[in-house]
């Protein structure tokens, strides 16, 4: 405790904050073309080390001593804007910067670039805007944020084609995925092959793998913060695309010019058309598709107040032979109000609703039933940023979320009296957090960002909580406890220190260090590596303690070639207390005693991540390499010996390249290599009542063959696009260019033709997949 208190002694004294010989420049940076706010644009004071970066609302605030300055506003891929400022009073300066891609090929930008990645205290995080992501060859033409994230160091894909991801050894449920601040509980469509993020509605995504800021909490391993576009505030515009498996359409327009605008974006797949090719009659009458809709509205109430309302609705439908139905999806709604108390104090209040549900059933007949499950949360969040002075940026706020879990409701339909209706006990909880942090510059080379988050988790009645003995059987003396409505019957608290430090070695290099402690109170009941839509989230309780992760990371950052080539090397070590796994042959679906299937132990992960990225010029891209291990120890699994996690892949290499040949033609290329996934391979077999059963001696003791794949894309922006409003482009993407049969899984089974004989079977999903997509915009 004393250690934590000491941290805050660094906080600047109040006198310092309000000294009178300094003035503040603040404002917004937006895109000249469509009025979108620029996230992470840099604001530099020429010939000094002072500077600022715009926040997610495009706002910046910079406090300087009285004087004359040249301020340079810049953003990757945009032309710089330089302003001369005579600073003798507080000033509001908002600028519009313009996309330089049209002029890119004539003038290779070699001007001095910002060295934000070296100078910034943040590490283990990557910001990607949608334009970068669009340059990557896409599976079936469907540009995907998460698929791009998987190409970054420290991030593993959960399997071929999947949008599940694992960050620095954390499980899929340890990623906090946010869409305009709303939690997305299941970010995949079509059984994991696509993510919920529609390329036309998304502006930007930032992934934190470590050094997670104090404002975020609730997940152990990462935060993926995805932000939607605001909508074109300059003019009416329509864009869309027609692809092999999906089509998209987006409409955006000002409502009141420069004051208010909206965007609506929809997407629908028609992958199920392929089912018609099947010889199986039932498959022909089946459907498998998804659609989603993003909408956002913003209004500038005044110079100091802005209102944003955004929402997402998505649904997947699986319908087999018109007789069995399964549907699932997320709904999120976020209402935000930005308020500037002064040019130094920025605040935002958000009200957030988020819901993930699935329903399945047989609509009619003697077995007719409906079954549904959902997790709903209602959240209030209030964040403040105080740009105190050039040396201190203080952030504080709180968040409180009410969670409503319905693990399953089962209802017979159609007068079916053969089943009882059944409701697994619902769960209710309140998760809250308050935080305070300060980013402080000490001298010209050293920056420290220190903060603390206090998280509080409370289980609320009505509830029935089963009591387990040491063998995970129900206690005979008291098998369960019941709690009344509204009763706060169990409380956990967690102190989560966060720390980041940077020391600049020279203009082009720095070393950084970070530490964070994270608490996670929600857990996902899923033990398969592929994501299923039947996700059941369950809360910590008197039986399940919160999971706690401690992570330390060290990094060296170095830029070359006038900051156009950014490189970094990071090492991390992470330990998880109260790590959970599920017992052998666990039953996770429709199980009222789910907590009895959980086994608790510890986990650790460590690794080295190398990253080199070039973001400017005709030739862009990155190379990332990760060497990592992820290990777990749980008494009841693998005889208590440490075992490698299901998604442990020691070597992971990604090469992503894009080349603009001329204004019309551009190329994209990726190559991915990683170690094969661990596999529990049988060491024997026996026959039980006609069934050949494998015998295993070690969990995840073998590996499936290594995975590698190369993708390629060509994009044509025809010359006729120049100078006209309607612009169209063609994209040809080839997934798995050299048609490698990468195993999705290797299974061991009995030979159907030769009972008793057993064999190894490789399942692979995709061979080479070429796709053509047509995109337009006007």
């Amino acid at each position: 405790m004393r250690f934590y208190l000491c941290l805050f002694l660094f906080l600047p004294s109040l006198n310092n904050l309000f000294s009178q010989d300094k003035f503040t420049i603040s404002g917004y940076v937006t895109d000249l073309d469509n009025g979108e706010e620029m996230i992470g644009a840099t604001v530099r004071v020429k010939n000094t080390t002072e500077g600022a970066v715009t926040n997610i609302y495009g706002f910046y605030s910079l406090t300087l001593a009285k004087g004359e300055y040249d301020i340079v506003y810049s953003f990757i891929g945009y032309s710089d804007i330089e302003k001369r400022v005579v600073l003798d009073q507080n000033q509001q300066i908002s600028v519009e910067i313009s996309n330089s891609s049209q002029t890119l090929q004539e003038v290779e930008i070699t001007a001095e670039r910002g060295n934000t990645n070296v100078e910034s205290v943040s590490m283990s995080s990557v910001e990607m805007n949608i334009e970068t992501i669009k340059k990557i060859p896409a599976l079936m033409g469907e540009v995907d944020v998460i698929r791009a994230i998987q190409l970054l160091p420290g991030v593993q894909s959960s399997g071929e084609g999947s949008t599940g991801f694992f960050v620095r050894g954390g499980g899929a449920d340890q990623n906090l995925v946010l869409l305009d601040e709303a939690t997305v509980f299941n970010s995949s469509h079509l059984l994991g092959f696509f993510s919920v993020f529609n390329q036309d509605a998304i502006k930007d995504a930032k992934l934190y793998k470590g050094g997670i800021p104090a404002k975020y909490g609730g997940r152990l391993s990462s935060v993926l913060d995805v932000r939607m576009k605001e909508g074109n505030s300059k003019r009416f515009s329509v864009s869309g695309g027609i692809g092999l498996i999906s089509s998209r359409l987006t409409i955006e327009a000002p409502i009141v010019k420069d004051k208010s605008s909206f965007i609506i974006s929809g997407r629908r797949t028609y992958a199920d058309l392929f089912l018609n090719l099947s010889k199986n009659e039932d498959l022909k009458n089946s459907a498998l598709y998804f659609y989603d809709l993003n909408g956002k509205f913003n209004y500038k109430l005044s110079d100091k107040d802005r209102l944003f309302v955004s929402g997402y609705f998505g649904r997947d439908i699986l319908n087999i032979a018109d007789a069995f139905k399964l549907g699932w999806g997320n709904t999120t709604i976020t209402t935000r109000w930005n308020h500037l108390f002064s040019e130094k104090l920025f605040s935002n209040v958000s009200l957030i609703y988020s819901n993930y549900n699935y329903e399945l059933g047989i609509p009619d007949g003697i077995q007719a039933f409906a079954w549904n499950s959902d997790i709903i949360n209602y959240s209030i969040k209030n964040d403040y940023t105080l740009y105190a002075n050039t040396s201190n940026t203080i952030r504080f706020g709180f968040q409180s979320t009410f969670l409503d879990f319905n693990p399953a409701t089962f209802e017979p339909l159609d007068g079916n009296e053969n089943f009882n209706s059944l409701q697994l006990p619902k769960k209710f909880a309140l998760e809250s957090g308050i935080y305070l942090s300060n980013e402080q510059k000490i001298g010209s080379r050293f920056t420290i960002d220190y903060g603390m988050r206090l998280s509080i988790f409370q289980n609320i009645g009505i509830d029935t909580v089963y009591q387990y003995d040491e063998n995970y059987d129900l206690r005979e003396d008291e098998p369960f406890k019941t709690y009344g409505k509204g009763e706060f019957y169990n409380t956990y608290m967690g102190l989560e220190p966060r720390l980041g430090m940077k020391y600049t070695l020279d203009e082009f290099s720095s070393v950084k260090m970070s530490y964070n402690r994270m608490f996670q109170y929600l857990h996902l009941a899923n033990n398969s590596t592929g994501g299923t839509p039947l996700d059941v989230w369950f809360p910590s309780s008197s039986n399940i303690k919160p999971r706690i992760a401690d992570q330390v990371a060290l990094g060296y950052f170095r830029n070359f070639n006038s900051n156009t080539l950014e490189t970094s090397a990071e090492v991390y070590y992470k330990e998880v207390t109260n790590a959970i796994d599920f017992k052998d042959n666990a039953q996770l679906i429709f199980n009222s005693k789910l907590e009895g299937e959980v086994r608790i132990g510890s986990a650790r992960a460590y690794g080295l991540e190398l990253f080199a990225r070039k973001q400017q010029g005709k030739f862009t891209g990155w190379i990332s390499y990760t060497l990592s291990r992820t290990l777990r120890t749980i008494d009841e699994i693998n005889d208590g010996k440490e075992y490698v996690a299901n998604f442990d892949r020691p070597h992971n290499l990604s090469i992503v390249l894009a080349y603009d040949i001329n204004p019309q033609w551009s190329l994209g290329f990726t190559w991915v290599y990683n170690t094969g996934l661990p596999l529990t391979a049988p060491t024997g077999k026996f026959t039980y009542q006609g069934q050949v059963v494998p015998v295993y001696s070690e969990r995840n003791g073998a590996r499936i063959p290594d995975y590698h794949r190369s993708d390629f894309s060509v994009t044509l922006d025809p010359k006729k696009n120049e100078g006209r409003r309607f612009k169209s482009s063609w994209n040809l993407s080839v997934y798995n260019m050299y048609a490698r049969k990468n195993p999705f899984s290797i299974t061991f089974e009995e030979d159907d033709d030769n009972p008793g004989q057993t064999q190894a079977i490789r399942t692979y999903l995709f061979s080479i997949i070429p796709t053509v997509t047509y995109n337009f915009k006007f």
């Binding site: 089946s286 007789a323 529990t680 001696s697 299974t747 079977i761 692979y764």
Partner: protein
């Protein structure tokens, strides 16, 4: 509900491909496997003893001969005799409701034992076997199948577990785990079923080619316990249900034997009912 996960695999099989590959495996230690049961019926009860083999061996069922096998009800020991390689049988006797039975197998100096409580089962009052001409996806795809349904008063209170077996003209048809129908009473607790109004829970579907008018169909219901129910599920999860895209981790199936033996010993009460296939 695991069959619903299998559905995804079916959809994905449109795009996925499967092929046999060579994959080197190491060999583990040989273990004893015991499959034993005793029921309330008066007959010779049998115990099968085998051992594990290497995974790629052609033979998956190596029998163990010359073991000493005893079933005890706590007061009396019944010694089993080997009637064919690896198959050991009692004399004719019937298990009694409310007793706990112990199976002891001694082989090469090690004794393996397991216990099981013989619990009463609800009486199967009657069964019907009719063609409903209705399909149920995945479970019953052919609408001419005979649906075998039961008339039973399910006792009030959760915690009853059932294993069903069916016979055509006294020949056991459901003779492998993948063909078993077994269930707990979570969805049917305390319900009474009858044949009126087609108020049915299908237990089995029999292909119409397998039976003729005049054939006798018999359904047996056996009382089992939660642990054996989980054991049967794990046998299926690790064999028949394996190979899907959403498998959980591979794991050993359980056992109620000590000293590292695999397999299971289960004591069951049995109730049965018959029906004759009539013209529809």
């Amino acid at each position: 509900m695991n069959e619903y996960l299998a559905l995804f695999a079916i959809i994905l099989s449109v795009t996925s491909c499967r092929e046999k590959i060579d994959f080197d495996l190491s060999n583990g230690n040989t273990k004893i496997v015991i499959d034993g049961s005793i029921t309330s019926e008066n007959r010779r009860h049998s115990v099968k003893i085998s051992k594990t083999s290497n995974y790629y061996d052609a033979n998956s069922d190596e029998r163990v001969q010359n073991a000493s096998v005893i079933i005890s009800d706590g007061t009396t020991d019944f010694t089993l005799t080997e009637t064919e390689p690896g198959i050991y049988k009692t004399d004719s006797l019937s298990g009694e409701i409310g007793k706990t039975y112990t199976l002891k197998v001694s082989y090469e100096g090690i004794t393996y034992s397991a216990r099981s409580f013989l619990k009463e089962v609800a009486e199967l009052q009657a069964i019907i076997a009719v063609q409903l001409f209705e399909t149920i996806p995945i479970v019953n795809e052919v609408d001419s199948d005979y649906t075998v349904a039961m008339v039973i008063n399910e006792p009030e209170g959760l915690g009853d577990y059932y294993l069903f077996k069916y016979y055509i003209n006294n020949r056991l048809e459901s003779d492998t785990v993948r063909e078993y129908s077994f269930a707990d009473d979570e969805f049917i607790d305390g319900l009474s079923f009858d044949t009126a109004g087609f108020n049915l829970v299908p237990i089995y579907f029999i292909e119409s080619e397998l039976v003729e008018v005049g054939d006798t169909v018999k359904l047996e219901v056996l009382s089992i316990n939660e642990d054996y129910n989980d054991f049967l599920i794990s046998v299926l999860l690790q064999s028949e249900f394996r190979g899907g895209l959403f498998d959980g981790p591979a794991a050993n199936v359980g056992s109620n034997f000590d000293n590292g033996a695999l397999g299971y010993f289960i004591a069951s009460d049995v109730s049965s009912a018959e029906t004759i296939i009539t013209p529809q």
